[in-house]
Symmetry: C2
Subunit: 345 residues, 2 copies
């Protein structure tokens, strides 16, 4: 059985139908205009019979557009990124685009490399969920001159559409839920803020919220370094002590993302505490295991799928020629109440 059955080309179709390549191409691309019925029928038959489909590569070369979208993701290991990626990829496919994936593996220096590589394949645009430190990307983007949409993390000075969770509203909702439940001594635990916009926004919103409720509640921010389990435990104990000094006040943590949630859960286990008892808890992101830890961990679920689809749609609109200033889509989160934030007496 001959393996290398060369894919049929437009030339094959042309000769099979007894017409010129140009005619075949017209039949394929501008079917409605300029068509003589019998010729159209002959071409159609030839196409069907040879199972012909045009080569996207050749089309890309000729048209300058590839129907390819470059998706650069900071860390494919991060379930959040994957969830977004999933939504984006689906939307792209539905719109007839294919996704080329480039995983940075958390190495910031590779942003340039990624953009170069993807641009080489003539991707029509980019969906970027990158680290966002430094703005090297800005110039590269401008250089390549292709539209891009940023997901979850802003890039300073970058002139592009942006889609993300509405962090401010989500933080506010979480805080008020905790306060309503009688948790009055709060700690926002985040990965190191550095330049990461999402983390900063959440931390800032937390602080603002605490100030607004300064009479009833107190709150601090703790940056948890990877591997520094002792530091986190110490911070939780300090939190607990602060709460005890104020009679009848209970302490709770707001975790900045699922990675932090995991760390906090480990620390709580080490300390022998129970969620919902010694420590209240709400965390960003809603991993499938949240309901299985202790009495269930309350979370703020992100509409990851919707974020991905929105990003893809934004980009595709640009590809279709939409002009105008950068747009911003902030999607609402959903608070999932579980045992870890149960209201106290």
């Amino acid at each position: 059985m001959n393996l290398h059955v060369r894919r049929a080309t437009i030339a094959d179709v042309a000769s099979a139908a007894g017409v010129s390549k140009a005619t075949v191409s017209r039949f394929l691309n501008h079917r409605e205009k300029l068509l003589s019925p019998d010729i159209a029928a002959r071409v159609e038959a030839a196409v069907a019979q040879l199972g012909y489909s045009p080569s996207p590569m050749a089309q890309a070369l000729s048209r300058g557009r590839s129907r390819l979208i470059g998706l650069i993701v900071a860390d494919i290991t991060n379930p959040y990124s994957v969830a977004v990626l999933r939504g984006a990829e689906k939307a792209c496919q539905d719109a007839g685009y294919l996704v080329m994936l480039f995983n940075l593996g958390n190495e910031p220096g590779r942003e340039q490399e990624a953009i170069q590589a993807l641009a080489g394949y003539q991707v029509d645009g980019f969906i970027l969920n990158t680290l966002g430190r430094g703005s090297g990307v800005v110039d590269a983007m401008a250089t390549q001159g292709k539209p891009a949409v940023l997901v979850d993390r802003r890039h300073v000075g970058m002139h592009a559409d942006f889609v993300s969770l509405d962090n401010r509203a989500a933080v506010q909702q979480a805080c008020e839920h905790l306060l309503d439940g009688g948790w009055r001594e709060l700690l926002f635990v985040s990965e190191p803020l550095k330049g990461v916009s999402t983390r900063r926004e959440r931390a800032a919103a937390f602080s603002a919220c605490m100030e607004a409720h300064a009479k009833a509640a107190r709150g601090e921010v703790f940056e948890s370094e990877e591997g520094d389990d002792e530091g986190l435990q110490a911070a939780l104990q300090a939190l607990h002590r602060r709460a005890q000094r104020r009679k009848g006040v209970r302490a709770a943590v707001l975790a900045g993302n699922a990675v932090v949630t995991l760390r906090v859960a480990r620390a709580v286990a080490s300390l022998g505490w129970q969620f919902g008892q010694e420590l209240g808890f709400v965390g960003f992101d809603d991993p499938e295991w949240a309901s299985l830890i202790g009495p269930g961990l309350s979370t703020i679920a992100q509409p990851t799928d919707e974020i991905g689809r929105t990003a893809a749609r934004c980009l595709i609109e640009r590809l279709h020629g939409l002009e105008g200033p950068p747009r911003q889509s902030l999607l609402p989160g959903e608070l999932k109440v579980r045992g870890s934030s149960a209201a106290g007496a």
Copy 2:
């Protein structure tokens, strides 16, 4: 600031260096042979000055090879798939290949579509982690005539390299660990076996292992349907009763993958049981949250990264011209012992 700064082409370099396109091309591809020092220097300078890099698309069209690898994954939501994908993508990048991702979203019918789409972009080969039901893929592969490597799931009759966990050895290790700990009434809980090779292999290995220890232990297999929580709970209760009928014997579950682990954990919570007490447990896959459920869930960790890298390397070897019959790489799992399988009295 002019945006559409057309990428420099080989023609630009040629005229800048005052030579022909062919010379530039030769300088790029066959640097060692056929080189006159001064010309080489001029070309090199021109390349550097214009920041020229060849268009992979045009190269692909001309060469018939694209340095692209198509990665088809059954379900991007599955952390196992992602972990493998990560290893594979890294290995590909290291070897100078880019990955085009196609997510099936668990829709079996899209395998063909995926292969067609990817083949259109002239991918040099495929890494397949697909559903594996039916063998429609076989013909398509043969048709496209490109090498492929299967990950985790075999395709019946498919003539291709295969890499996966050594399921038989892993099951055996898990069973013996449980038996050593005094867990003598076992239940293997799997997603519906259907035609999925991994599930069948694990179930078969479990049954074989139980027969081998028939004097001391008993085991059954349960297929857990998505959403059928009652069925699973009933199966666990039946298991428990069987154990009680044999004085002093304790019951344990071996879960076929992380999805099942989650279901079992939910059921155990519903029943008010404690892992390590009323029910022993070992599960395939080692999610990050395994240590946080109850006393910690014992697991069999797969070398996902290594599986991915191996798959990529296999494929790339084929791309480099390696001939010969399909190869098979079975990588060892690692048993992580935690509280859920603690030895009894």
